[in-house]
Subunit: 204 residues, 2 copies
DNA sequence: CGCTAGCCTAGAACGAGTTCCAGTGACTCG
DNA sequence: CGAGTCACTGGAACTCGTTCTAGGCTAGCG
C-alpha cells in the first residue's frame, strides 16, 4: 500500500490525510452544535477515532485546530462564491454583495462561525502562519469579487485590508449579539465605499 | 465607619470600592508583565489581598475582569486625549491622529494591550453589557476627535463604527505580529477617509 | 447582649486544555 | 527474518479557570 514517504516539508500519507480530514470534520461538527466550548479536544479525538496525543500532533492546540477548520470552510466558500459571481456592476457593490452572501452562509451555522471566529481572534503569535493563510484567503475572495482587470494598486490593497478588518470585527459584534444583521449590512456597505474612493483612473 | 448601604443598583461601600480598585490594579499589573496568560485568577486574588471567591463575586470571569480593566484604561486614555486635542484641521486627520496617539500609548504596554484586546474579542454574550461600555467609550473618543459642531449624522455614525472595527482588528493583527505599525497607520488613515466621505453639508 | 443576614476567607473540588509516558504496531533497511 | 524507527494508542498527570463548602467577621436589630 502506497509508500509513505515524508520529504521534510510535512507531506502526509494517504492514511494521515484521511486522519486529518476526519479530525477537521469532527471539529466542524462539534462546533456546529455548540460553538467554541463544544469543541472539546478529547471529544474531537474520540469522534475522529484518534488518540488525544495524535490529535495534538496534527494540531498543536485547540486554536490551531479551529483556525485550520476555518481555512477549510473558507476554501469551500471561496469555490462556492466563485461559481456564482456577484451580479452587481460597481466593484464596491460587488464586494458588498459577496460579503453579505458569505455572511448569510455563516448565519446558517452560527455556532460554527462563532467557534472559528473566536479562535481566529484569540490566536496568539504561535498561530500567525495559519491566521495569515486565512487572511490571504479572505483577501482573495474580496479581490475576486472586485473583478479587477489589472492587479490592484497599493491603495486598493489598503482598502481591502480595511474591509477585512471591518468584516471580522462586524462578524464578532454580530456573533456576540451586539449588532443586528441590518447593522452589519450597513457597516459592510459603508466600508465598501472605500473601494470607489480608491479606484485607479477615471472616477475620482 | 461609614454606613454600608446598598440601594438595589450595586452601590459599593468604600471598602468595596477599594477592593475593586486593588483588583483592577493587580490585573493591570499582571497583564503588563505577561499578557492574557499572565493574568491568573489565583494570582490576581492574592496580589489584591482578596479571596478567590471574592474576586469572582466582583468579576464573574477572567474575561469580565479584563474587559473591566480595559474600561478603566480607556477612561484614563480618554481624559489624557481630551487634555491634548488633535492639532490637525480636517476631521479625518484629527481622528487618525488621535487613534495613532492611542495606539502609541498601547505600544508602551503591549502585553497589557494584548490581554485587554484578547479578552474583548473573546467575550461572549454574557459580557455584552461591559463590552458595549467599552465600545461607547471608544465611540466617544472618536467623536471627540472629530470636533463636530452639531451632533453626528447617521452616516457619520456608520463611519465611526467602521473606524472602530478597523481599529480593533488592526490592533489585533499588530499584537499578534502580523502587521507592522506602519501598516496599522496606513489602515487607520485609509479608513478615516470615510469621514470626509460622510461629511454633512458643504464638502462632497 | 445575643440573633440574623451578608460578605469574606481558606481551601477543596471539578472540568477541560495540554503534556507526558510506556507500550504497540507498521514500515524500512540490513 | 531481525532490528530499528517512528507514528499511534491509552491513559495518567498537571495547570488554571471556575464552582462549592464550611466557617468567621461585621452590622444592624430586638
Amino acid at each position: 500500500m502506497t509508500a509513505e514517504v515524508k520529504p521534510a516539508a510535512m507531506q502526509l500519507t494517504e492514511r494521515q490525510e484521511a486522519r486529518r480530514r476526519r479530525i477537521l470534520h469532527a471539529s466542524a461538527r462539534l462546533a456546529s452544535r455548540g460553538g467554541f466550548d463544544a469543541v472539546q479536544m478529547r471529544e474531537v479525538a474520540e469522534n475522529s477515532g484518534v488518540a488525544l496525543g495524535t490529535l495534538y500532533r496534527y494540531f498543536p492546540s485547540k486554536v490551531h485546530l479551529l483556525v485550520a477548520t476555518m481555512q477549510d470552510q473558507l476554501q469551500h466558500m471561496h469555490e462556492t462564491l466563485r461559481k456564482r459571481p456577484p451580479t452587481e456592476e460597481e466593484p464596491a457593490a460587488r464586494v458588498a454583495q459577496t460579503l453579505m452572501r458569505a455572511f448569510r452562509a455563516l448565519q446558517r451555522e452560527p455556532h460554527l462561525a462563532d467557534a472559528m471566529v473566536r479562535a481566529l481572534t484569540f490566536a496568539d503569535r504561535s498561530v500567525s502562519p495559519e491566521v495569515d493563510t486565512v487572511s490571504r484567503l479572505t483577501t482573495a475572495i474580496i479581490l475576486d469579487a472586485m473583478g479587477l482587470d489589472d492587479s490592484p494598486t497599493a491603495e486598493q490593497l489598503s482598502a481591502v485590508r480595511v474591509i477585512e478588518h471591518t468584516w471580522h470585527s462586524a462578524l464578532i459584534t454580530w456573533l456576540s449579539g451586539r449588532a443586528s444583521i441590518a447593522q452589519v449590512k450597513i457597516d459592510i456597505e459603508t466600508v465598501c465605499r472605500l473601494i470607489d474612493l480608491t479606484a485607479p483612473a477615471p472616477a475620482g
